[in-house]
């Protein structure tokens, strides 16, 4: 239910309860109604007050939750989706690199079996390409650090949602030991912007900002 609709429902409920309370006051003060009705009216008034108290607590619980948990859950889902995509892309890069490396090993085997005039030069070239390919495979493993940051950030946001749920549970008078332990955990810091996407553009933007700041400081 949207937050504005919740607010409307709470406001309408409180207004109706105030009107009921006002009517009950008038009936209780009316001498023509007699003793039994007065007792009933007192009970209804007490019930009305307790219902109003429950509504205030629900209102505070709503404030404790706010809109942030929904946004954080959405962002967590986005981060987790990106992690899945990044790991799949990295796995394919590594497998493609291994395929190419295996092809180069086959080429070295052929050169060894059928020596040619410039075979030594060709072997050296293939070995150089093989080393470069193996190095590229190592470079692809950077995805592990990036996805670690993304998972950490998603976990941090979900931890914040958990703390808010715990705060709301406490307001409503319940207890939730598991939520308490999550709420008490300190959150390490993760890079919110960690990503394997558009690294060329992000590096270029960083370089431009560095250059602009250096130029500005040199001029001042």
């Amino acid at each position: 239910m949207p937050t504005s609709r919740i607010a409307e429902v709470l406001y309408d409920s409180e207004t109706v309860l105030r009107l009921v309370d006002s009517e009950l006051e008038e009936l209780r003060d009316d001498p023509a109604d007699g003793h039994p009705l007065a007792v009933l009216l007192t009970l209804m008034q007490r019930a009305n007050q307790e219902t109003a108290c429950v509504l205030r607590t629900l209102s505070h619980g709503r404030d404790a939750l706010g809109d942030i948990p929904l946004r954080e859950i959405r962002e967590s889902v986005d981060k987790l989706t990106e992690v899945s995509t990044a790991t799949e892309a990295a796995a394919h890069r590594i497998m493609d690199g291994i395929d190419r490396a295996q092809g180069m090993l086959d080429a070295l085997d052929r050169l060894a079996e059928e020596p040619t005039v410039n075979g030594a030069i060709q072997e050296a070239m293939v070995r150089a390409r093989l080393r470069e390919e193996l190095f590229q495979i190592i470079g692809a493993l950077q995805f592990q650090d990036i996805t670690s940051q993304q998972l950490g950030h998603a976990a941090q946001m979900l931890g914040d949602v958990s703390r808010r749920v715990h705060a709301t549970t406490s307001l409503l008078g319940g207890s939730c030991a598991e939520a308490e332990s999550v709420a008490a955990e300190a959150s390490p810091i993760f890079a919110e912007s960690a990503s394997i996407k558009d690294v060329g553009e992000r590096q270029a933007a960083a370089d431009a900002l560095f250059w602009a700041e250096r130029t500005r400081k040199a001029a001042s």
């Binding site: 190095f135 190592i138 470079g139 493993l141 950077q142 995805f143 592990q144 650090d145 990036i146 670690s148 940051q149 390490p188 810091i189 993760f190 890079a191 919110e192 912007s193 960690a194 990503s195 394997i196 690294v199 992000r202 590096q203 933007a205 960083a206 370089d207 900002l209 560095f210 700041e213």
Partner: protein, 123 residues
């Protein structure tokens, strides 16, 4: 030239060390966080550090290095997954000489190292 590579991820330290070796720098020392790095600065000619680390972050490490008489002029490159504007400005204000966004290539790292050394030589 002796490098100090600082990153809490053992995988990333291997990749950075591998990249440095790939582009011709073979003398490399490693540290797993900023606190350990501060203890290993002696004899270091160039510092390459991550940002998000336990105990002492890369930005805090940079400020500490710049505050010490024996390491104030040490060349520093931040290699990090952080790439928003505020982070880059924070790194600059802390005192880094250059900034490399992860994931990076050895060629980019070499370009930044060369640029920092050339800038120091020209100054």
């Amino acid at each position: 030239m002796r490098f100090l590579v600082v990153d809490d991820s053992a995988t990333m330290r291997r990749i950075v060390v591998n990249s440095l070796q790939r582009v011709g720098f073979t003398e490399v020392v490693e540290a797993a966080d900023g606190a350990e790095a501060l203890e290993k600065l002696s004899g270091i000619d160039f510092l390459i550090t991550d940002w998000n680390m336990p105990k002492v972050s890369g930005a805090e490490l940079t400020r500490a290095v710049r505050a010490r008489d024996d390491s104030r002029g040490l060349p520093i490159i931040m290699v990090t997954a952080r790439s928003v504007r505020d982070d880059i400005l924070t790194a600059m204000e802390a005192g880094v000489d250059s900034y490399v966004v992860k994931p990076f290539t050895p060629q980019v790292l070499r370009e930044k190292i060369d640029a920092v050394l050339a800038s120091r030589a020209a100054a």
